[in-house]
């Protein structure tokens, strides 16, 4: 069985980014175009492409997975854990919580951007966040 995914909050994520982590946004391109994390080290690999592109996820630096609310990114985190990645974590609350904290974003989130049942509470995680 996989280890419980490590969950981090936006504040911890910002600190990790400052320490060399990369932000991996697994939302669809249209969502990212409309509303994005405004940080230098962010890469977009939609969840639907992750199986084919998981080799693009670096193994030599910490990776924080993000999405709209933290559900799809949790799936991505577990998928990478399954493939042997150990330095991966999930940012609970996603870009919604990130922007609510006043952290930098570009654009505006569409009201109906969560149309795929991604808004249920994040479960099955170990919260190590400070928030």
């Amino acid at each position: 069985m996989l280890e419980e995914a490590k969950e981090v909050c936006p504040t911890t994520t910002r600190r990790l980014l400052g320490e060399g982590a990369i932000l991996m946004d697994v939302r669809d391109r249209s969502e990212v175009t409309a509303f994005a994390f405004d940080v230098p080290d962010v890469v977009n690999i939609p969840l639907s492409e992750l199986e084919q592109r998981c080799s693009e996820v670096p193994r030599d630096r910490p990776v924080v997975f993000v999405c709209d609310t933290g559900v799809r990114s949790l799936k991505a985190t577990y998928f990478l854990q399954f493939h042997g990645y150990t330095n991966v974590s999930n940012m609970g609350g996603g870009v919604v919580k990130w922007s609510a904290k006043g952290f930098p974003v570009k654009g505006q989130r569409a009201a109906d951007s969560c149309s795929t049942g991604c808004c249920s509470p994040t479960e099955g995680t170990t919260t190590t966040s400070c928030c």
Partner: protein
């Protein structure tokens, strides 16, 4: 035969379980059918698309309801 259906409880997952159960009964095959609904447990099989089907520990299907022919082949012709 130990069969696990991986999925978070969507209609396709329920239909997959029902189909396997139906085919098993029709063929008189004894199966231990189990639902796996926790994301962590599902991802433990590396399955990104659900429903997934695991037979005796091996992933034999991922994504969408399997065809009846496919299920019949799993359970023996």
């Amino acid at each position: 035969m130990d069969i696990k259906v991986l999925g978070t409880g969507c209609t396709n997952c329920k239909n997959t379980i029902a189909l396997i159960d139906q085919v098993a009964k029709a063929k008189g095959v004894t199966v231990k059918l189990e639902k796996v609904e926790e994301l962590r447990d599902i991802m433990g099989y590396g399955v990104m698309s659900t429903p997934g089907v695991v037979i005796d520990g091996k992933v034999v299907h991922a994504g969408g309801v399997p065809s009846r022919d496919k299920v019949e082949s799993w359970l023996g012709a």
